[in-house]
Symmetry: C2
Subunit: 477 residues, 2 copies
């Protein structure tokens, strides 16, 4: 009966994955559609996940020597235009303010699609000497990109993100920073989101507009498609030349500075949903779950049940667990479905018999296993159980992902593996024409070149030329 | 010598208070001017204060049952127009997006100047039954208001703030919420910012556009002017009628819901500067200071000094103190000035003789007193000393404020007291004409009517009519 209700509420993920996604994000109240097309309202349950993500990432940024700042939302059009490739990449999707305070503006203002240009403008003013370097800033902000096709969290007109922007005295230091932040992201994705990621360098076609090179992390979703979950860019001195960021070095000469930027966004919530979700809805890793344990009183009309439930909640909260009770007058079946759909890692039922026996049953959301725990040992056992769920979810996602990475030597193999929902590994000649051909023939794109490339030569399956680079291809969000 | 350097760096606050403010915000690197007129870049030192404010307030919002969410930046023009008074108040200062994604939009989009309209639009969709109430949401966001005259933190085209928006089943509950949040703000201002505030109800002239009544807190700045530091609005059912927020009540009838909103902004940083600052620059209360203790090694070329300084920093950080060292090659005099200007609550000097004696000297920023502490007792004594500074700053600000509240019975007295930099208390008839006359004659405005009004009658000094209301007047930011 409960199962049947479920099937009615959300689409079957094996039959219609996009509809399953839409049902899950809306029905678990992570998000709703805003009044302007393509915008989203992040509801409390979704925003609490973002707050947990922010807290974990922010601590990592600070531990690696970064500080937060806040730069203006509105960028003068002329400022955006200074770096040619950058403006070419972003101009088509910007939102433009033309009127403010009742008057037509003499210069159009762009709502930031990203903030390189305005950071660089201030950096050129602030940075004079080698003593001023490095500058390692981050900001948590909203950005606007007017996309044609939008989906909550994955691609929306406005989204929330963090963007780090750093300036260094040497090229080596900037390259090191680019890779350091890529690794911070990878460690975070695996240990906090329980999502295994592939990291590496993007092709020139796929790199950030204006970057010298872009590194990214790619996560596999349950439909076998890839989601770009974060990027870290090395700019060389391209922006510092365009925005005149020069410093007087120790040797008495003026030099252009070296820069990086890196960012992740509310897209990570989409990644969480599609990497872990199942037929019943969300499955949230404990480290980001807004509610880690939901306590359901059973036969609550009987004396002492609600009291004991509240006692358990207090003990778990005191032990640092994000724990809530559902004392509403809904039926037990409705509550089971509801909290299961919302992906709460542990469900704890407490009824008269449990109280009598001094023992409760915990149901794991990730694998449906049931665990019996003495009530007076909950504060000790539950945190350990949450840790176990966290690692077990990562392991499960890793096994799934690894089973879906296939090596291909021909275009036919590539297409076949992609059709079956795999990532495909090939040798690649390095040219854009082959990437375009893959897009055309099989609607897939180059994702990343792994950092540790083997030196063995092979043949690019697309053009047949000898190729030394390994490339991972996938259909992507 | 150090003093002289100082005088050069920042204007004399007794001679030119506005210039003193500008010098302080820019030279301590709290803020810089953005490329678009009226916008500000909040630099790391300023943003760290905002992060501390956010952390303290957010914990209070959650403890009183609120949850965070995020609503879109862009509001369709038609949505803004639904509540007549509201649009009249905000329309003149909005920024308007007319082009996005390369196309002229069919409907103009407004960058939120505040978010009542878009919250209400979603609330009308989400709220159906009494079971859905109360809804108590908050968001941390940026807003844009195109002001003619701007000053960093006090009035800028874009600023950061939090806005709470709540919906209730009864009028009583909404009124209670309005006053609860006013008191949360007051407690926060006094215990965290060390700023004593006067709270009360605003006149109809000064209330928020669209509110039934507005409550505010007013803080006295060092020049005797008032700064509105936070507001809490009771909307009655005005917005719920305009946006159709109805719910099916327990009694089976449909009713309009009752609403509130409340907010504070980065303006609080301006309040901190002007309530506590002195001739040497910032004086920051320990609870929001980004650096609570600055450690300066003296004669650092001598063996063991830097090592001991680092040991002290580690011990204080381990004790939960925000502590940093200045190991730069600047002179001791420069460092003293610099960190004094930046308002760090405690300066700790450590040199060879201190190490020999096992004792260091701590200099208090708030009153310049010096305190000698044994090195091995620092981790215990410093937190206590920071608490003492915190309460002592509040007390000092309270004494200052109380000495500058004067009762006036005539227009001449009012003007005299205002000219001397006081708040003025009078009886008031309640009419807008008298407020306008005060504005015209003495450039002051009605601030708040204290919550606990005495019942005694008097005479309105402006029109001479009998009056039962007590009003506090001031020149204001």
């Amino acid at each position: 009966m409960a199962e049947k209700n479920f099937v009615k509420e959300i689409a079957d993920m094996t039959e219609d994955f996009p509809q399953w996604y839409t049902d899950v994000v809306v029905k678990t109240q992570l998000v709703d559609y805003g009044p302007v097309k393509g915008t989203m309202v992040i509801r409390p349950y979704g925003y609490a996940i973002w707050e947990n993500i922010q807290k974990e990432l922010d601590a990592r940024f600070k531990a690696t020597g970064h500080m937060n700042a806040y730069f203006p939302l509105l960028i003068p059009e002329s400022l955006l235009k200074k770096e040619a490739e950058h403006v070419e990449g972003f101009a088509p999707e910007v939102a433009v303010v033309t009127v403010a305070g009742g008057e037509t503006l003499s210069e159009k203002l762009i709502i930031r699609p990203t903030s390189e240009t305005i950071f660089c403008d201030m950096y050129s003013k602030w940075i004079q000497s080698y003593r001023d370097l490095p500058v390692k800033l981050n900001q948590w902000a909203n950005v606007v990109r007017w996309e044609k096709t939008t989906r909550p969290f994955l691609r929306s007109s406005e989204f929330l993100w963090q963007e780090g922007h750093t300036v260094h005295a040497t090229k080596e230091e900037a390259v090191e920073e680019t890779l350091l932040m890529l690794n911070v992201y990878k460690e975070f994705a695996e240990n906090v989101l329980a999502i295994p990621v592939l990291v590496g360098k993007k092709s020139d076609k796929e790199k950030f507009a204006g970057a010298e090179s872009t590194y990214g992390m790619e996560a596999m979703m349950k439909d076998g498609k890839s989601l770009q979950a974060g990027t870290s860019h090395f700019f060389g001195d391209k922006f510092s030349r365009a925005y005149d960021i020069q410093f007087l070095d120790k040797d008495g000469t003026h030099k252009y500075a070296w820069q990086t930027s890196w960012g992740v966004s509310t897209r990570l919530i989409g990644a969480l949903i599609m990497a872990h979700g199942d037929q019943r809805g969300l499955v949230l890793p404990p480290k980001v779950a807004p509610v880690q344990v939901i306590v359901l009183p059973i036969a609550a009309h009987k004396g002492g049940v609600n009291e004991k439930a509240r006692e358990i909640i207090d003990a778990l909260v005191a032990a640092g667990v994000r724990c809530q009770g559902d004392f509403s007058d809904q039926s037990a079946g409705w509550k089971f479905n509801q909290w299961e759909m919302k992906g709460v890692p542990l469900r704890l039922e407490v009824g008269p018999r449990d109280i009598e026996n001094g023992v409760v049953t915990l149901a794991r959301r990730d694998n449906f296993e049931k665990v019996t725990v003495k009530i007076d040992q909950l504060a000790e056992k539950v945190p350990a159980l949450l840790d176990e769920i966290q690692s077990s979810m990562l392991e499960k996602a890793r096994v799934f992902r690894d089973s879906r990475i296939k090596k291909a030597a021909t275009v036919e193999e590539m297409k076949k593996y992609l059709d079956e929902g795999n990532f495909v590994v090939t040798k690649w000649c390095g040219c854009r024409e082959c990437e375009e051909k893959v897009k055309e023939l099989m609607q897939a794109s180059s994702r990343i070149m792994p950092l540790a490339q083997t030196l063995d030569m092979g043949v690019c399956p697309i053009c047949g030329k000898p190729a030394g680079t390994t490339m991972i291809w996938a259909r992507a969000y």
